[in-house]
């Protein structure tokens, strides 16, 4: 975000809001990931300890999600940049 037209107070305020949102997003992603990997990998409730097989499954589930999540973010960034470019072109056409 372009903060150059904001004073110091507003800039710090905005940075704090962004940081809080990022923390909330991380906690939400983490919470969903635990739920999803537990749901996919742990289905035997005759034992009171996570089995080695279940633990391996959870580890792979977490790793796979992180890798595919990273890939989605990269594609998301590309799509957003493309969308911004299209919006800019439309605005330039409207000015003519």
């Amino acid at each position: 975000m372009d903060f150059s037209n904001l004073n110091d107070y507003d800039r710090k305020q905005m940075e704090r809001l962004i940081e809080e949102k990022q923390m909330r997003d991380f906690m939400r992603m983490y919470s969903n990931l635990v739920d999803r990997c537990f749901d996919n990998c742990v289905n035997d409730f005759s034992t009171k300890t996570v089995t080695s097989k279940e633990n391996t499954c959870v580890n792979r589930c977490v790793e796979k999600f992180m890798k595919l999540s990273e890939r989605a973010s990269a594609r998301f960034a590309e799509q957003n940049a493309q969308l911004n470019q299209e919006m800019q072109q439309q605005q330039q056409q409207q000015r003519k």
Partner: protein, 93 residues
């Protein structure tokens, strides 16, 4: 436009983008992942699926957004109806 309004709009836009990223990640993972977890690495099939899924989700999001621009007035009308409900209730107290 004063600073407070400008900041609120910037914050809302930031939240929109990050919420969209979260939702695309969840939905596309659901569509693309292989439940067997033979490996922690993403397979080629899963990776390419994610690529296409993100692009398609963007397209659907834009199409639905365009459709709803016209319908937003109808939704506001619906919300006002809910508000009238409450007004009647509170008059009785």
């Amino acid at each position: 436009m004063d600073n407070e309004t400008q900041m609120r709009m910037a914050q809302q836009e930031f939240e929109l983008v990050t919420d969209l990223l979260h939702k695309i990640t969840q939905r596309c993972y659901q569509k693309c992942y292989d439940k067997n977890y033979k490996t922690g690495d993403a397979t080629t099939k899963e990776s390419l699926c994610m690529d296409k899924c993100v692009v398609k989700y963007f397209q659907v999001n834009k199409n639905v957004n365009d459709k709803l621009q016209a319908a937003s007035q109808a939704k506001m009308e619906q919300q006002l109806r809910a508000q009238e409900i409450l007004e009647k209730r509170r008059r009785r107290k």
